[in-house]
Amino acid sequence: MRHMLCKYWQHFVLLPVALLWLSPVLWIGVTSLKTKSEVFDSAAGWLPDIAQWSNYPAALSVAPFGRYLINSVLVTGSIIAAQLVTITLAAYAFARLRFPGKNLLFGLFLVQIMFPIYAIFLTNFVTIRELGLMNSLWALIVPFVASGYGTFMLHQAFRQVPSELADAARLDGCGHLSTLWHVYLPLVKPTLVAFAIISVVTHWNDYMWPLLVTNSEEVRTLPIGLGLLAKADSGADWTRLMAATIVVVSPLLLFFVIFQRRFVDSFMHAGIK
């Protein structure tokens, strides 16, 4: 018994907390399978009488979710691909190069995250329109190509890399790009993944901006479909909203489970001792 307790004590602490954390998603899952009148009926118990799988097709029928899914993948994928390039370069410059006005410039990068987004919507709307990008997937991508947040995050990680490693590489005749690629990037993969996850999640769930700059079904994204079920003035369409939430979140969850195993585990203690 003592042995069991010693071996598994972490589970004894973590499991209840994890279940507490999971309870909202369990509720989402269970509700997505209920009939409308079961949702708020305390007499009906926690589980649906008969699982209403038809809530899923019914939820998906309110909008072309297939098209929305492709768009969400395209938009989120393009943003993160572009961001990884811009932030890697910028973070390296801030972490390892010397140039005048560096601190000021770094501060200016951070301003991007500090300024409330609703105060810049209007001007960005006008800019997007003048660039001729209204009602296109580009309108959902280009405002987010640079990321002060990602630059900051990666900058912190780069500064953690021992400078001797970089100096050794420089002595071997590596240029900046090659040092960046061969020395720095492999060491900060967990940070890159952490950034990628949050960036993907943010843009995957973005609602207000796509609503403002897109009109056609062809260029709209998943959260707009979700909004159709959530924003009703008559009270939400609970069962279908929860079904749609599961559908929208599933690709992300899959993405996360795959990535956290492949990267966070395999790069444990990578290279640094």
């Binding site: 009148s37 909004g227 924003k231 009703a232 279908r240």
Partner: protein, 433 residues
Amino acid sequence: MNSSNNGISRRTFLGNTAALSVAGMLGGMPLMASGKEQVKLSFMYPVGVSGDINRIVSGMIGAFNAAHPDILVEAIYAGSYDNTEQKVMTSLGVGDPPGTWLPINSALQTFLSMDALEDVTALAKADDVYQDFLPGFLGTCISDDKLYGLPFQCSTPVLYFNKAALAKAGIKSAPNTWDELFATAKALTLRQGQDVTQWGLTIGGGWHDWMFESYVRQNGLVPWTKDKVMFDAAESVDALEFWLRMAQAGVMPTASTWQGSANDFMAGRTAMLYHSTGSMTNLRKSSPFEVGVAPMPKNKTFGASMGGGPILIAKNQPDAHKRACWTFARWMTNTANQSMWCKETGYLAARKSSWESAEMKRFVAEVPEARIALDQAAFAGAFLQVPGYHKVREYLKSAIDRTLIGEIRPDAALREATASSNREIQRMLRRRG
């Protein structure tokens, strides 16, 4: 503001062009111009009651486009009423508004103050609009005797009640007056020690200012004109004092939210609920008990403020587009479409002829509750159509909230809200120049 000179000349100029364009439109009859290029126009709409509206609207637009080869309408779902309004305004700001859109009726003065709306009085008079639309509904699109749109999705608040809870308390029928409402709410409130297990009444939060206007109307006053509000009038103060008495007696919560209050009703947490007729289908289908619907109880009189919205037509577009927009708005609100819309969504049909159709008579026989909202509509009028209504709503809601939690007296709160609101309205009017 130092713009009055410029503003006036600009408005006069626009007024002239507007007159010209109406003449142009009339001259352009019949509306179905043939042999012309196809007119493309967009229609921005919110989803008021459920996601299915998106499918229904798409279906209607498809049918319209098929029947009108010279017009191509693109339906643009734009979020909630607020989101839709914001999207339209942002587009107006860059001079590129949609041809038509569907805001909440309270926004009428706001759009008028932006000089964004086409006057369709002449077109409507040449048609059966003034004869066939229910006057209460049509009135929500009228300012200074001019018509600026066609009512499309109409609603009012109604009183929902949990039939099982009433039966349990031995109450035979829904309250008909404020006094009965108070007494019924008292009888329906259940407590377990300190904790309330069932409220007698909940007034749907978030839109409680809309309900509040209905109460003031039940006191015989419409608490606004197109350029000022009278929340400090005796009729308004009396209504808020009545709410305060109910809150202090512990028969209704001092605050709630729009979503939360609907949930509370379905979960049996409140036995009576003031909510929109638009919620009727959802509440009836989702409640595990039988739902009753009654007109809002009267005080001096019955009264209700209208929710829902009209289809409006943009002023800043070529005449051919305006003609197409009118054709579209007219088609969306024709007798058959209004009947269909009413049956499918729970909104009220705006046309008398729709209610008289055999289809609707069958529907009302099946769902008598639908009729109640219509009966109540006879006493209904537009909701808070003042410029800058959003801010005015916030002032009023804040006054109500602070009163109910006992922070301030009703008369003082409403005086303050009136002063702030009128200042804001003046600011908007001054800006209009």
